[in-house]
Amino acid sequence: MSTEQAPATTGEGSVRDEALAAAVRPRRFGAWYVAEHRLRSMRAYGGTIVIGGIGQPLLYLLGIGLGLAAFLDQPVASGAHGPVSYLWFVAPALMASAAIGVALDEFTYAVLEGFKWRRLFWAMNASPVSPDQIATGLVIAVVGRMGFVVVAYGVLVVLFGATGSVLGALLTPVVAVLGGLAFGLPLLAYSASIKEETGQFAVVQRFIFTPLFLFSGTFYPLATLPIWLQPIGWVSPVWHAAEVGRALSYGSPPGAWPMWAHLLVLVAMAAGGWVVGRRVFVRRLR
């Protein structure tokens, strides 16, 4: 062999260049590849997502929005122009709860599964994709599922005449997704930090999700509750998202929080969860 041994000797330069070129797409689109994988996995339970996504709003709108409403003997809620239909009142809260339900579904066991039970995140981690892209990709996929759920809800809301304005019909689903993330991203950060599952998720469901669903002015205005229970609403994404949806649909009654304040709380919760969550992912995988 002569001094210049063809590919092997010049190896470094070319392997190095190959590597530099190969990482361009993963660096840019890594999070989308993770989302693509997650959405593909959701297809396994796509049937329940679709049927549940349509069936759940249908049942709640019928059972609560119409059934319970028929049974109420006095108006529960008022908008800017006086009393409004009970259906108008509950629809934005039910929609936000549905988005939060998706977060509860996707950001608990599925996260621990990725780290621990099936270790999928470790497989992704060995690829060019980085830990923060893994976290981002999960969120993209979950927003996709939430999007489907709230749009299905939105269509049914319109069919039921459960909104007071076009603006409400168009924007309430967006606010519901924001509410879902305000609950979901802190939950993602928490789930990603769990090393051993000893029932934490059952506790989250029953001691956090259920009270947030029940005591957040979902079925009647928050002010109905005794003052010592009202703080649950103040920290609840359900309440904030529902109040924004209501303001969009039929206008806020006097004395309500301004819309920007609700939005600020939602954005702050989502952003806080996001910053911490990404950090937990990086720390755990690196």
Binding site: M1, Q5, A8, T9, G11, E12, G13, V15, R16, E18, A19, L20, A22, A23, V24, R25, P26, R27, F29, G30, Y33, V34, E36, H37, R40, S41, A44, R118, R119, L120, W122, A123, M124, N125, A126, S127, P128, V129, S130, L285, R286
Partner: protein
């Protein structure tokens, strides 16, 4: 440089794909890797042999650009993992110690989904997946869910997955741990084919037979340090004798027997269950043992292996 790689002149001719100098990794007080130097040449099959907890997996994680080194220098494919993690990972194939396949997807979808992480277009992923399924002898399982595969098949699928990006280096962490003997041989056969094609392999193992089967050159690692390095044959030549005589006298008599026989062998090791006598001619030593009237319950003459090298270097067995 020549003095570093005695016995492996081949390496000198080329630029290494992996090069570490004084590489360390500590977790608080714990030193996982305590300053190692190594080089891997393109096309080489390189092994890290050592017991569990020796620092092999930590080293692999640093090379794989998923764990930051504490100190020292490290270059993989001519790049620094600290700054070019995605670049390095996009040209590596990693087979982890514990399978982490997506058990909810089919065998073929596992390959396609993973290929996407490297930015490979879907159609190319699909084409490559079919080739790899043939290579891994899993073509008839393409549409089966991973859950239904045997341990050996899962391992082959994991290797196929690691090859989806046609990596410059394939890294295997304990590739056959937990597999039955037949599955191990099938796996070794596949890895041997990759080696023949010129794929660079980096393998960690605590099985000496695996190291002997797969590695052109290896380092013996213990407590985060490199104890020795060379080809399996060189290591055996340097650190052991040609043959070993294994004698069992019963656990209570082994120690005394070792004292009585000390002069017969170049070196003697007493293990809890047996005595090892290192010699060029094992049968001759056995004859001498018998002529002294010592009657072992069992006796065995065998060739030296990497296990003996490890015992010599560390005073311990590889598998405890």
């Amino acid at each position: 440089m020549a003095d570093v790689w005695v016995g492996s002149p081949r390496v000198l001719a080329v630029n290494p794909v992996i090069e570490a100098r004084a590489l360390t990794k500590t977790y608080g007080e714990l030193v996982a890797v305590g300053g190692i130097d190594l080089q891997v040449a393109p096309g080489e099959s390189f092994g890290l042999l050592g017991p569990n907890g020796a620092g092999k997996s930590t080293t692999m994680r640093m090379i794989g650009a998923v764990s930051q080194r504490t100190s020292g220098t490290l270059s993989v494919l001519g790049l620094d993992p600290d700054t070019h993690g995605p670049e390095i990972r996009s040209r590596l194939g990693v087979v982890p110690q514990e399978d982490n396949l997506d058990t909810e997807l089919t065998v073929r979808d596992n390959l396609i989904v993973y290929g996407r992480y490297f930015g490979i277009p879907r159609a190319a992923c699909a084409r490559r997946a079919d080739e790899l399924l043939d290579f891994a002898e899993l073509a008839d399982k393409a549409k089966v869910k991973v859950d239904a595969l045997s341990g050996g098949m899962k391992r082959r699928l994991t290797i196929a997955r690691a090859l989806i990006n046609e990596p410059a280096v394939l890294m295997l962490d304990e590739p056959t741990t937990g597999l039955d003997p037949q599955a191990r041989h099938v796996l070794w056969d596949r890895l041997f084919r990759l080696k023949e094609r010129g794929t660079t392999l980096v393998v960690t193992t605590h099985y000496m037979d695996e190291a002997e089967q797969l590695c052109d050159r290896l380092v013996v690692v213990d407590h985060g340090r490199i104890m020795a390095e060379g080809s399996p044959a060189e290591l055996i030549r340097t650190y052991s004798t040609r043959e070993v005589l294994e004698l069992r006298f019963g656990s209570s008599r082994n120690a005394q027997a070792a004292v009585d026989l000390a002069d017969l062998a170049e070196r003697i090791e007493v293990l809890p269950d047996r005595v090892l006598l290192y010699a060029e001619d094992g049968e001759a030593v056995l004859a001498q043992v018998r002529s002294r009237g010592l009657d072992p319950t069992t006796s065995l003459v065998r060739r030296s292996s990497l296990e003996d090298v490890f015992l010599r270097l560390t005073g311990r067995s590889l598998i405890e």
